[in-house]
């Protein structure tokens, strides 16, 4: 069928990518390991710095206290979520909507403009793989040629030692990452505390950390680019989000073709050195054009620029450019798609900013007590409610509950005094409203308002006072009176 069944020769161990099949999957379905070559250049350097910055950001956040809590602390036990001193409660979970849609719109917008900038520069898969795990591999096993030779070599003591060292470091790195990850949810002191006990003492946390570390180890030691190629939906989504004017990493075929070794007459700029293929972490040939596997890591740009500089040709044969730009045209940045995504993003940011800045440090609900919706007594009409107050703050708070917009003569009982709630506590208490028949004019709407004692915020809910039509009550009273009058005149009847 294909050349893969031929005995492995050094030439074939570096697979030649084709457009129609995935390089890392052999024709018998087995996995083909990639050994990307080292690459140097401005994008590699910039990516290394940004990757380290992102990793440092992730590692450092749980260590920095802001207002007595770690900078980012998703406290599941207390259901309080701390972000740089800003605290949200479980009741604010609806704000997550803005997090999710914001991420979506931001990704739409950035993808339409810059293609898969996220994949190559910011995705944790790439960041940890390139800047932690591949660094370990490079350090233990050597460069691409040495790694390939080592993989093909029979198992000796030296090879086994290298494998143990490499995988040991992979496991250490995975455990570090997952312990830090757990600390985002239970805080560092708590992780440290739990680490002093037997696994059985904190079974759930232990299983979580070690299972997650196992997944990370498997992913970064073996699975690697398969996640980007087969599992991640973003690579497939991009075809719906990008167009001819979106930035991508591309090969300038007009300049490069026909490719040929140095000195070939009438050849284009491409010297067919295959460096762009050797450095690719997903095993593609960028000269085939934009492909699903491309994670936009820019390694091929640096590789090609290095070669072009050496052969004294202009750099940029492979570069960040749009299809339009690569075809000799001009990239249009402002176009219906970018305007639409930009507007959606701005609307989302505006609404989210409004929502986040108006979150109240308390929550309250008004609901009717069980039984009838209203009670009609001989003297009055009555509605009974329960008011649930939740203090979302991490300190005690005192609340004043009032009813507003009540008609004259309406009496309120309950909440005569302010209610003080412990940190993050909640209470449920009755609120009873009584309208005497004389003053009753039928159902009406009123407002229950909650203020904190310091008057820093107010919450309001509109509630309906329910009851019969006022005329029905009047008729009933009228009948009653007539009946009495009749009895008075005719005691025998």
């Amino acid at each position: 069928m294909s050349a893969d069944h031929k005995p492995a020769s050094p030439r074939r161990s570096v697979p030649r990518p084709v457009v129609d099949s995935v390089t890392t999957i052999a024709s018998d379905g087995s996995r083909r390991d990639l050994h990307p070559a080292d690459v140097h250049g401005r994008f590699t350097r910039a990516r290394r710095w940004s990757g380290w910055a992102l990793i440092a950001f992730y590692l450092v956040l749980p260590w920095i206290p802001v207002n007595g809590h770690p900078a980012v602390f998703l406290d599941l036990a207390e259901r309080r979520f701390h972000f740089f001193g800003y605290t949200l409660a479980a009741q604010d979970a609806w704000l997550l909507f803005f997090g999710v849609t914001g991420l979506g719109f931001a990704l739409f917008f950035l993808t339409a403009l810059f293609g898969r900038l996220w994949c190559g520069w910011a995705c944790p898969q790439t960041v940890y793989l390139e800047h932690v795990y591949r660094v370990i591999e490079r350090w233990i096993d050597g460069d691409a040629t040495e790694r390939r030779a080592l993989a093909a070599a029979p198992l000796t003591a030296a090879k086994a030692a290298k494998r143990v060292a490499k995988h040991g470091l992979y496991i250490v790195a995975s455990l570090l990452i997952t312990h830090l990850f757990l600390s985002y949810f239970v805080s560092l002191p708590e992780v440290w505390h739990m680490m002093h006990y037997a696994p059985g003492e904190h079974w759930a946390a232990f299983v979580f950390v070690f299972a997650a570390a196992g997944v990370l180890y498997f992913n970064f030691a073996w699975f690697r680019e398969q996640l980007c190629i087969v599992i991640c939906p973003y690579g497939r989504l991009q075809s719906a989000l990008t167009d001819d004017h979106s930035l991508s990493i591309g090969y300038d075929a007009q300049r490069g073709e026909p490719r040929g070794k140095l000195g070939t007459p009438d050849a284009g700029a491409c010297v067919d050195c295959n460096r762009c293929v050797q450095v690719c972490p997903t095993g593609i040939d960028i000269r085939h054009g934009l492909q699903l596997e491309c994670i936009g890591c820019a390694a091929c740009i640096d590789a090609c620029d290095e070669v072009m500089t050496r052969v004294k040709r202009p750099v940029g044969l492979i570069r960040y450019d749009s299809f339009a730009g690569l075809g000799g045209g001009v990239t249009r940045w402002i176009r219906p798609r970018t305007i639409l995504y930009g507007v959606l993003l701005c609307v989302g940011i505006a609404v989210a900013a409004f929502a986040f800045t108006t979150v109240k440090p308390a929550n309250f609900l008004v609901f009717r007590t069980g039984g009838a919706s209203y009670f009609v007594g001989p003297e009055d009409v009555r509605n009974q409610f329960m008011v649930r107050l939740v203090n979302k703050r991490t300190e005690p708070a005192t609340f004043v509950v009032t009813s507003e917009g009540l008609p004259a003569g309406l009496r309120q009982s309950g909440f005569e005094a302010p209610v003080t709630l412990a940190p993050m506590a909640e209470s449920v208490s009755p609120l009873v409203l009584v309208a005497s028949r004389r003053d009753y004019r039928g159902p009406f709407k009123f407002t229950v308002r909650v203020r904190d004692a310091a008057q820093t915020f107010t919450l309001a809910r509109e509630v309906e006072f329910m009851g019969p039509d006022a005329r029905l009550l009047e008729d009933e009273e009228h009948e009653e009176r007539e009946k009495k009058a009749k009895e008075h005149h005719d005691p025998k009847g």
Binding site: D4, D28, Q226, V230, H288, T369, A372, F375, P378
Partner: protein, 194 residues
């Protein structure tokens, strides 16, 4: 899209025989790891089906709920009191542990209708609830009747059923607190106000 240059060498990916609407299909293997996840899922299904449906090795969700409910009910029974025993209520009403706890609940939930003094309509005719300190009762004045009233409420008149909200213990504490305003053996009358 710009036309991509043809690969210099085609390793020979084969096409399948069929053609639908002029569309042909490559004959390529799925990644083996992907197939293993499928085989793993099939194996998991067989084990799952066998363990739950045939051998009964694993408890079903239904039986786990039953076990948990039995445990909850056992715990409830262990801490429940005999709410038909009037003497028990009188004993509780003389014990500050119960009446203090009952007072706390009463203050937060009952005062809007029965007033903090517990005297309701006797103190203020406009109050919603009746006096609980006098000896005239509407729905029975023995401790167990009192418990039934608080526990199940008088929904037609607006007295909510409190046991579902408070649980048996807190409800009994409130009854003990009310009884602490009464004497065991006092003459009670049951009358329905017009």
């Amino acid at each position: 899209m710009s036309s991509s240059p043809q690969p210099p060498e085609d390793p020979g990916i084969q096409l399948r025989d069929h053609t639908y609407d002029g569309i042909q299909e490559y004959d390529q293997r799925l990644p083996n790891w992907w197939l293993y996840t499928l085989y793993g899922a099939i194996a998991f299904w067989v084990i799952y089906w066998f363990a739950y449906m045939i051998a009964g090795i694993m408890p079903t969700d239904g039986s786990r709920v039953d076990t948990a409910m039995a445990g909850i009910n056992a715990a409830k029974m262990a801490s429940s009191i005999d709410v038909t025993n009037d003497d028990k209520f009188w004993e509780m009403s003389a014990n500050a542990v119960f009446t203090d706890a009952g007072k706390q609940t009463f203050t937060s939930l009952c005062t809007p209708c029965h007033l903090p003094s517990m005297r309701g309509k006797s103190e203020n005719p406009a109050a919603v609830g009746p006096d609980l300190t006098d000896t005239a009762w509407i729905h029975g004045g023995t401790p167990k009747e009192l418990f039934t009233t608080v526990s199940q409420g008088v929904l037609a008149k607006g007295m909510p059923a409190w046991e579902p909200v408070l649980g048996q213990k807190k409800t009994a504490e409130v009854v003990a607190y009310i009884l602490s305003h009464h004497q065991k053996g006092e003459t009670i009358t049951v009358e329905i106000p017009k």
